[in-house]
């Protein structure tokens, strides 16, 4: 009796007309941000050989926000980005992109396709390709093998690349090999590659490391101008830089959130003063 009921229940579930069968749901659906929150991270735990890199971490990021993550070396900032982008599997917890997409169920390429772009801590560009070529490969679009074989650059795509080139200020070196760029230029190119892919959420790991003061300033301008249309999460050590761009700052410490608020609130937080800002104050 019981198993029959069970199967009948399942069959009824399958026949429901107000839901879609899971295998029919397209993998690429637009992210649902109707609650105005684009990223939900709850109770995330990651450990490496017993060392807890993320420890019950909770973080919510609003749609269109520019959020700064700060924290000492080893606080788990890069690991957090690894979890969001599917590079590192977490031991427990949940990560949702908007209301409808479970990030933990997707791998790197799928997550990139969903609209999450990432800049690495160490600038990584395709050194054997030109600046232009780097942006071409990053353009939003289909990523399949067969399509790539016959792909031609359309006029709109060319315009889009030119637009990104002018945003990142690399018009003059567009035909240079990316390997020949300066460190700062590589950082920008990598940001440009993110822009070309037109992601909803950008994760930017230490963008101004190794930049001159002037370059830093321009990067700050660029990132602020991106907020609104995109959601941006920036990891940075440079406190001046963070102060110049951040509206909301989250402080990580030993794999969990220590404090969150405006820069002033955070700087006056007793815990934060103790463990982080206190060191160099």
């Amino acid at each position: 009796m019981n198993p029959i009921n069970h199967f009948a229940g399942q069959a009824r579930e399958l026949m429901r007309r107000d839901t879609t069968w899971p295998f029919l749901v397209t993998r690429r659906r637009p992210v649902d941000v109707s609650k105005n929150i684009i990223l939900y991270l709850e109770e995330l735990n990651v450990s490496f050989d017993g060392f807890k890199a993320l420890n019950n971490l909770n973080l919510y990021v609003n749609d269109g926000e520019l959020r700064c993550l700060i924290g000492a070396n080893g606080a788990g900032k890069t690991t957090l980005m690894d979890v969001i982008t599917g590079k590192t599997a977490c031991d427990s917890g949940s990560a949702w992109f908007g209301q409808n997409i479970d990030l933990l169920a997707h791998d790197e390429a799928e997550i990139a396709g969903l609209g999450i772009g990432r800049k690495f801590q160490k600038p990584t560009v395709f050194e054997a390709h030109t600046v232009f070529g780097n942006l071409e490969l990053s353009l939003k679009g289909y990523r399949g093998v067969w399509r790539a074989l016959t792909a031609r650059l359309s006029g709109t795509e060319r315009d889009r690349i030119e637009e990104v080139l002018s945003v990142i200020g690399l018009e003059d070196v567009r035909y240079q090999l990316a390997g020949a760029l300066s460190h700062g230029q590589k950082q920008w190119l990598e940001i440009g590659m993110l822009l070309a892919a037109e992601p909803r959420l950008l994760l930017v790991d230490e963008p101004v490391a190794g930049m001159t003061a002037e370059e830093t300033e321009r990067t700050a301008e660029l990132l602020t101008s991106l907020a609104g249309k995109h959601t941006v999460i920036v990891v940075e050590h440079d406190m001046e830089f963070v102060r110049s761009i951040a509206r909301t700052v989250t402080v990580l410490h030993q794999g969990s959130v220590l404090a969150e608020g405006t820069m002033d609130q955070v700087q006056n937080n007793r815990d934060v003063i103790e463990v982080y800002l206190g060191e160099d104050a």
């Binding site: 395709f126 030109t130 490969l137 892919a197």
Partner: protein
């Protein structure tokens, strides 16, 4: 009508791609064609006592070198462009060769030593009564060709899929490919496998009804080989110049970055690996009728390593470097083994060390540098080193 139109478009695009300035290494193709045509004419038209006569031995030797050149291109495509160092491409080459060998074996018919019209000699010798199932259909040329492509292609697909999906890279991948070819060698050495054991397949009589010992057949085989080397070269060049090729180079240089841009790098690698294996198989198919034998020695791990040396000498990631490297090293090998047969392996090792240390980009890299020096005359600024099509000279030389 539409089909015609798109066909015309496609062929126009192919022509346009072949004409691209600087990227073209079409001179190599031209030289290959001219040389082999001249050799063929000299063999067929001139009397044997003419000073310009080319012996059939030389014709066959050249055909063999060109098969090796094709194999080298196959390795270059995965190693030079995608950073996948395969030390097992000899396996795909040999599988293609066995496919062709089986066809040639069936063509012998009752002209074998035992005169059995249905069974190859080695099966009669083993007291087998009937043909094993996997030999059926191999007397049909088209079917044999199909199988000689299907088997290595499927093997490459399954092997690549397992390896790349589990993200096996670098040395671990290379070791796995060595293990693959070694395992196949051991299997093919066994008589029960039904591929002739350690003697392999040999004593071929004719191909498609043409006598394999005839000069004209030899010349035709050389010309077919040249033609297919050229076709493979052009197709491969079109592939590496497409966006697909750029993605592949991106995977080589920064796989994680490529993945985070949304590319399924394992798919790219698998298909490239399959393509490369198919080229190796075609090379093997062309090799067997020309040398007249295929045996398990072709699976030897050392063979696959030699191919890598050819590519390294010629310069990887250039395609034409692979051809040049294969031709030069094999010519040297022929000369060298005639003088000092035992010393060849040492010479090969020394060559590899010298190239790795002094010519990391091989002869093609050296050639590129010379071209650059010639071009960089006083009065020419830095702008000149970049081109309209977005490629710098450095990349063209690369």
């Amino acid at each position: 009508m539409n089909v015609l139109n798109s066909l015309a478009q496609a062929s126009y695009r192919l022509l346009a791609a072949m004409r691209q300035p600087g990227r073209g290494t079409s001179w190599l193709v031209g030289i290959l064609l001219v040389v082999t045509l001249a050799m063929s004419a000299a063999n067929l038209l001139l009397p044997a006592d003419s000073p310009f006569y080319v012996s059939t031995y030389t014709i066959t030797l050249m055909g063999k070198y060109l098969c090796f050149a094709m194999l080298a291109m196959a390795v270059d495509i995965v190693w030079g462009y995608c950073g996948i160092l395969s030390l097992g491409h000899g396996a795909f080459f040999a599988l293609g060769g066995y496919g062709m060998g089986m066809y040639l074996m069936r063509q012998i018919g009752d002209r074998g030593v035992y005169g059995n019209p249905n069974l190859p000699d080695f099966m009669v010798f083993l007291n087998w009564q009937e043909l094993p199932w996997y030999w059926f259909g191999m007397d049909q040329f088209w079917f044999a060709i199909f199988m000689a492509l299907l088997v290595p292609g499927t093997l490459a697909f399954v092997f690549g899929w397992l390896a790349f999906r589990s993200r096996v890279t670098g040395v671990y991948f290379s070791i796995m490919t060595q293990a693959l070819t070694y395992a196949l060698m051991l299997a093919f050495f066994r008589n029960e496998m039904g591929f002739g054991g350690n003697n392999g397949l040999t004593d071929f009589k004719d191909i498609l009804g043409f006598d394999l010992q005839a000069d004209a057949t030899r010349v035709a085989l050389l010309l077919v080989t040249t033609f297919l080397v050229v076709v493979t070269f052009l197709v491969s060049r079109t592939i590496v110049q497409s966006r697909l090729g750029r993605v592949i180079v991106a995977v080589r240089d920064a796989e994680a970055r490529t993945r985070f841009l949304g590319y399924r790098t394992e798919h790219y690698k698998v298909w490239l690996f399959v393509y490369s294996a198919l080229i190796a198989a075609v090379a093997g198919m062309l090799y067997v009728p020309q040398v007249g034998i295929i045996n398990p020695g072709e699976f030897s791990p050392l063979n696959s390593i030699e191919v890598v040396v050819w590519v390294a000498v010629g310069g990887r990631g250039t395609l034409y470097g692979a051809i040049v490297g294969a031709l030069l090293v094999n010519y040297a090998k022929t000369r060298f083994t005639a003088l000092m047969p035992d010393a060849w392996l040492f010479a090969l090792g020394a060559l590899f060390v010298i190239v790795t240390v002094y010519l990391p980009r091989g002869l093609a890299g050296l050639f590129g540098r010379v071209i650059e020096l010639v071009h960089r005359r006083p009065g020419r600024g830095k702008e000149q080193t970049t081109r309209d099509d977005g490629l710098s000279v450095a990349e063209v030389g690369a």
